[in-house]
């Protein structure tokens, strides 16, 4: 025998000893071994080395050589390769290459291969320990959520409490900033958003799906009764039956209809983690079966993506500018912060809990003035104080233009910057001065649009020009939410960008921000964000290929179907069989111009919907459309993989119960987004990388998404490919190894303690402030790897992403695309909202509804579900035993309608009728109604899609029409409604008069 053969023979014998030894030591493993009875043959291709393992009722019988009738065979090309692949330290590239190159192969039933390979990979994990004993039977685990990390106290297998993480002395120090004669430092702990504080109540919610279910009147081999979705009840079935049905439906529609017949649809952010999350496990599975993808629109950034980007680039940030060093610059230099459509205290920086909150508390002490521009006296304004200016919804661009007008006529803008770094200013200047259309965009002119007194706009403009001013536009400071999601969102974001260019953005104290992004943390430390692709293998639609694919070799995955459906037009795609849109593609500015249509050439129409993740009725415009699209045989099969029985889950044929991230392993970073929100960790006061412990066992028969995809995959022969023979914990360890963590902390310690705080940058090595390089005409010096090299017109790293490399008041990209588009001309112009005070329907529906990102839930997450947030009166109000969604209405509008505090009211228009609890408030101008956007509960009182909803899905009222014809974006903040006392009726209500055809088909 060759020496390699001898060695590999010994290794295989050693494997047997390890299995037996571990079974003796770990009763759980012994129990695991009893799960299956079968024989696995391991061998080299030439059979020179071979050993079989027979698992029989928990015993392992093994022998050298070939078994007569093994159930599965694992074959390595050579003993040499076997030695390397079955050693303790495997070269990951070699492992992946061996699989790709058919040098490591498995034959036999896929579920047995998965079980066998996972069993072998489990061995090194068995002695791993995690959690901290707190005494009294309580163990402290760690998890991470989209509202911040948590210590999870567990006793007797049950979650006792969730707390923020208070750092100890062994954790890295906290940064401080010297400004205005004082050192400022944030609290040494993580913070938590309310939608995380309530999570114990949602883990143990009575709405948890605990068992696989089948709609009672759904028969895959007979009557499907699709029109009964949303009405019919469910019956409990076994996992085997559920997965068998789903697998056979996948095969059926592919066989019968071809490419693209399966559409997968995921919500945004229903849990958290780099492995078992949507841009990871779910993407790999969906790619593996080949699916029509739902093309999300940049729903929180619209105006920045479709508009502002054309002035300065930043396509890889969806049109938001770079975000470095801004906390320190603001604190040291700024004299004023203008919060424009910005409510960071409500939206928690999306994924960053209340990390920015303590920093904004410093503003007052530092003597920095603040101004708030928002139709609603939002929570940031209420907390921080300062002048509140309330323009009518979607008129903000007019106010912005009037500010620019004052600067031009006062001669108080940065003429040097405009001359040296910008292009096309004269054209915009002439438009503002009225030389183009005869209308000067004066403060008086804007008053008739916005309702804001001209004198206040002049005062603001002059104060702004005379002080070093930060613009906090949107809740991130450089975009996100609010006015960018209205019919004039493109104009607003563009105007904001132009204002900042006029004041010389990048100059000390002049920039975008509101102390939300740009803390002095160390971005050199590598840990991937969730958009970096995790285990997806997806090199085309995640950021995996940028660096994680190198750091964490894995089998690649590709979606064979290139068919896409715009998320805002799923109902049209299903019901009318056609849809078209413009994509969310941030690689270049021109990505968004590439119109696509459904069905795509050679592709099938949708025959099956695989819905994964959270409920989304509450987040989709004109949502009754989505309800209707379920209740039709044009969609013959729907599977929903969900944690809770809510929203669309009630419209499925088969329900697969997933567990929460408290019930599975994962790994992630606090606010670690990656991808389009690169370096999102700078919203945080500390970079915290979290081990997401499996704190409790999955409730009922629920399983992790990873496990569900593996088991379903096995029924398609794809399970081994999906999981690569590894468990979730193996993947977590792989991601640990792929990051910079091992340079700082051992796996053992990280796993046990559950988190690592990345030391901040030394004070003299902090990242420079954003845009300073551009202001000073230097090479780009912030750690941002975009724009892509090919997008520089001058030397690499010189200038912006625009064609000229300058800030373009007149946008080259829009000139190329459609210079005559009235909605998006090359210079930004004012066009009143197509659903607002100047619309025909305003007479019938005289109230303008704004529906910002919600405060106490995250999208639909942690709303409903009998969550503890139900008891927050700002969120829902208990009336006659039911928790109604809250809608705010001005005192005068309420008085005129006889509405008192917490009366039940009907908010309606031609699209829908929604019952809400009225909150009568002085925080709104008359004529404006405010209600948060994302109810998790859809509760029709009659026929679904055709009756009054009392769950509070406000988005049923919002228009499906895209912001502009040549983009695909939501204008949810442009919505006309009427509100009146509810008479208890379940029948849809409309205002008298002719229904105007508002919707313009694309």
């Amino acid at each position: 025998m060759r020496s390699a053969d001898v060695k590999f023979t010994v290794v295989l014998w050693g494997l047997l000893q390890a299995v037996r030894f571990m079974a003796r030591r770990h009763p759980k493993f012994a129990k695991h071994l009893a799960e299956k009875n079968f024989t696995a043959q391991m061998r080299t291709k030439d059979n020179a080395v071979a050993r079989y393992f027979t698992f029989e009722n928990g015993k392992v019988i093994s022998g050298r050589g070939l078994h007569k009738a093994p159930d599965i065979k694992v074959t390595v090309a050579s003993a040499e390769l076997g030695l390397r692949l079955f050693s303790l330290h495997v070269d990951e590239i070699e492992r992946v290459e061996a699989i790709k190159g058919f040098q490591l192969q498995a034959d036999g039933p896929d579920d047995l291969v998965v079980w066998f390979t996972q069993t072998l990979n489990m061995i090194p994990t068995l002695h791993w320990e995690y959690g901290t004993d707190l005494g009294n039977g309580v163990t402290r685990y760690v998890t991470n959520t989209n509202g911040g990390p948590a210590f999870v106290h567990v006793k007797d297998g049950k979650v006792v409490r969730l707390t923020p993480i208070e750092f100890d002395d062994t954790d890295a120090p906290t940064w401080s900033i010297e400004a205005r004669g004082k050192r400022w430092t944030p609290p040494r702990q993580t913070s938590m958003a309310s939608h995380t504080v309530c999570q114990k109540s949602t883990i143990y919610s009575p709405d948890r799906l605990l068992y696989p279910m089948k709609r009672v009147d759904f028969d895959p081999n007979g009557e499907r009764n699709c029109e009964n979705r949303g009405i019919s009840g469910y019956v409990r079935i076994s996992w085997d039956e559920a997965l068998d049905i789903v697998a056979s439906e996948i095969k059926r529609v592919k066989r019968d209809y071809g490419q693209g017949a399966i559409m997968c649809n995921h919500g945004s952010h229903h849990t958290w983690g780099n492995i078992g999350y949507y841009i990871s496990a779910a993407y790999k599975f969906f790619n593996a079966i080949g699916t029509t993808k739902v093309m999300h629109n940049p729903d929180s950034w619209e105006g920045w993506y479709w508009g502002a980007m054309h002035h300065y680039g930043y396509s890889m940030r969806l049109g938001q500018v770079e975000t470095y060093g801004l906390v320190e610059d603001l604190m040291k230099e700024a004299e004023m912060v203008v919060f424009w459509s910005a409510d960071p205290e409500t939206t928690s920086g999306s994924y960053s809990a209340h990390e920015g909150t303590p920093r904004r508390q410093w503003l007052k002490e530092m003597g920095i003035e603040v101004v708030h521009i928002d139709p609603y006296l939002n929570h940031t304004a209420a907390l921080l104080g300062g002048k509140w200016i309330a323009p009518k919804p979607a008129t903000d661009a007019a106010m912005g233009m009037a500010i620019a007008y004052v600067w031009i006529t006062d001669d108080t803008y940065d003429k040097k910057f405009v001359a040296d770094r910008c292009l096309g200013f004269e054209k915009w200047r002439d438009y503002l001065l009225g030389e183009e259309d005869g209308i000067a965009k004066t403060p008086e002119w804007q008053e008739s649009e916005t309702g804001v007194p001209a004198r206040e706009v002049r005062a603001l403009a002059r104060r702004w020009a005379s002080r070093k001013t930060y613009l906090g536009a949107g809740s991130w400071g450089n975009g996100h939410g609010g006015a960018c999601r209205s019919a004039t969102g493109i104009q607003w974001a563009r105007t904001m960008a132009c204002l900042m260019a006029m004041q010389g953005v990048g100059k000390p104290g002049v920039n975008y921000g509101l102390l939300q992004w740009g803390t002095p943390i160390d971005l050199g430390f590598s840990f991937p964000g969730y958009a970096d692709g995790g285990m997806s293998g997806d090199l085309t639609s995640t950021a995996l290929g940028v660096s994680l694919y190198l750091r964490m070799p894995q089998l690649p995955s590709f979606n064979t179907s290139s068919q896409k459906v715009p998320r805002l037009q799923i109902p049209e795609a299903i019901l009318e069989g056609k849809a078209e849109g413009y994509p969310w593609d941030g690689q270049t500015i021109e990505g968004q111009f590439q119109k696509f249509s459904y069905p795509k050439a050679g592709h099938s129409t949708i025959q099956m919907l695989y819905k994964y993740g959270g409920a989304s009725f509450g987040t989709m415009n004109d949502s009754n459309r989505y309800v209707k699209s379920y209740r039709t045989d044009k969609l013959p099969f729907v599977v929903n993989q969900s944690i809770w029985f809510e929203g669309e889950a009630k419209y499925a044929d088969i329900l697969l119960p997933a567990c929460t991230n408290y019930e599975r392993y994962d790994i992630s970073e606090f606010g670690g987004t990656g991808g389009y929100a690169l370096h999102g960790q700078t919203q945080m006061n500390h970079r915290v990388v979290l081990m997401q412990h499996k704190c409790i066992e999955p409730l009922g028969e629920s399983k992790s998404d990873f496990q569900i995809f593996t088991e379903l995959g096995s029924r398609l022969g794809l399970g081994t490919y999906f999981c690569e023979g590894m468990t979730e914990l193996n993947w977590v360890k792989k991601m640990f190894d792929a990051s910079d963590l091992p340079k700082h902390i051992s796996w053992k310690k990280f796993l046990k303690k559950g988190y690592f705080v990345v030391p901040p940058s030394p004070e003299d090595q902090r990242d420079p402030p954003s845009n300073r390089w551009f202001y000073e005409g230097r090479k780009k010096d912030v750690p941002e790897p975009h724009p892509l090299p090919g997008d520089y017109s001058e030397n690499y790293l010189e200038g912006l992403q625009t064609q000229s490399g300058k800030f373009e008041f007149e946008c080259s990209s829009l000139k190329h695309f459609d210079a005559n588009d009235p909605e998006r001309p090359p210079i930004v112009k004012y066009l009143p909202s197509w659903e607002g005070a100047q619309s025909e329907d305003f007479k019938r529906y005289p109230l303008q509804l704004i529906s910002p990102h919600s405060r106490f839930s995250y999208h639909t997450m942690n709303d409903g579900k009998d969550s503890s947030t139900n008891d927050i009166r700002e969120h829902r109000v208990l009336i006659d035993g039911y928790y109604y969604w809250t809608l705010r209405i001005s005192a005068q509008d309420a008085l005129a309608r006889g509405i008192n505090m917490h009366d039940l009211v009907l908010a309606y228009n031609d699209r829908a009728s929604v019952v809400c609890a009225a909150e009568v408030t002085g925080r709104l101008p008359d004529g404006v109604v405010h209600s948060y956007s994302a109810s998790g509960v859809y509760d029709p009182m009659g026929e679904p899609g055709h009756s009054v909803d009392r769950g509070g899905c406000i988005n049923q009222l919002t228009p499906k029409r895209s912001i502009a014809k040549k983009v695909t974006g939501t204008a949810c903040n442009s919505c006309l409604i009427q509100v009146e006392l509810w008479d208890g009726s379940a029948v849809l209500k409309t205002a008298p008069g002719k229904r105007e055809e508002q919707e313009v088909a694309l």
Binding site: H354, S868, R923
Partner: protein, 278 residues
């Protein structure tokens, strides 16, 4: 000896509900024998946050007031309780005993702060027990304090004498001091929740154009004497805050204009735009 106190800054509370939700997290689904029986899932806001708006657009003030068991040094609930069902601990914390208090509804009614809740299922009066079970295990702050993102809610473990110094230094107040209950929950900027303001926006005409009149001196007078003075801001706005609701007749002196009479009732008054130079 050191005792437990809570200090809440009303000016820093923005209704995030971190304290209220973490209180729910702590007491729903858990029981702590000797301290607290399990809380009912809904309707039991042991830490509740009351909201208040005052003023008129565009000058509106919003305040929030977290209210919970005050752990009074002279607790009315203790007097109302039978069989030693309410205990005042040496460290200041008041505990409604989860067994002994069963059936004693009068404990709920005795609390002038509506901070004791009736658990219908268990027939038990319940209130926020200052997270005493955690403090007894070595915690140094309550769940609400730990969660509070603005540090509006702070847990202080100090002697009564030290606490009194802080009360004087920071102008801390308690709810309804006239009741003589002597709460251990103190408030900073409490006046914000209960007071009203008189405000307005000054304008001037410059070359025929209306402008905000900034830097204008405004005096507030009561019965002929000046009680406060201010200078209008960038937007010409002035705001005399912390006035007592219903405090009656005031006059405003704006430059050499005739004095403006303002009658303050229960609500704040925003006078709207006022031509300063007229």
């Amino acid at each position: 000896m050191k005792k437990w106190n809570l200090v809440i800054d009303v000016a820093k509370c923005f209704n995030c509900n971190g304290c209220a939700l973490s209180c729910h997290d702590e007491y729903y689904g858990n029981e702590f024998p000797g301290y607290a029986a399990e809380m009912q899932k809904h309707g039991q806001r042991w830490i509740d946050i009351r909201a208040r708006e005052t003023g008129q657009k565009p000058m509106v003030e919003v305040s929030y007031l977290p209210v919970m068991c005050n752990h009074c040094d002279n607790p009315p609930c203790l007097k109302a309780a039978k069989d030693g069902a309410v205990v005042k601990r040496d460290d200041g914390i008041v505990i409604i005993h989860p067994e002994k208090a069963r059936g004693q509804r009068q404990i709920v009614e005795a609390c002038p702060y509506q901070a004791v809740f009736w658990n219908e299922e268990k027939q038990l009066p319940q209130a926020w027990p200052f997270d005493a079970h955690l403090l007894d295990q070595g915690w140094t702050k309550t769940r609400g304090s730990q969660m509070c993102p603005t540090q509006a809610m702070r847990t202080l473990h100090v002697t009564d004498a030290e606490m009194q110094q802080l009360v004087e230094r920071d102008g801390l107040e308690v709810l309804s001091p006239e009741l003589g209950t002597r709460p251990r929950v103190y408030y900073r900027n409490l006046v914000r929740f209960f007071s009203v303001f008189i405000g307005g926006a000054l304008t001037k005409t410059v070359k025929g154009v209306e402008e905000c009149a900034d830097g204008v001196h405004v005096k507030l007078l009561q019965q002929g004497s000046v009680v406060a003075e201010q200078t209008s801001d960038t937007f010409g706005e002035f705001r005399f805050s912390n006035l007592k609701p219903g405090s009656g007749a005031y006059q405003l002196q704006i430059l050499d204009r005739p004095r403006l009479d303002v009658h303050l009732k229960e609500q704040s008054i925003y006078l709207g735009a006022i031509e300063a130079s007229a």
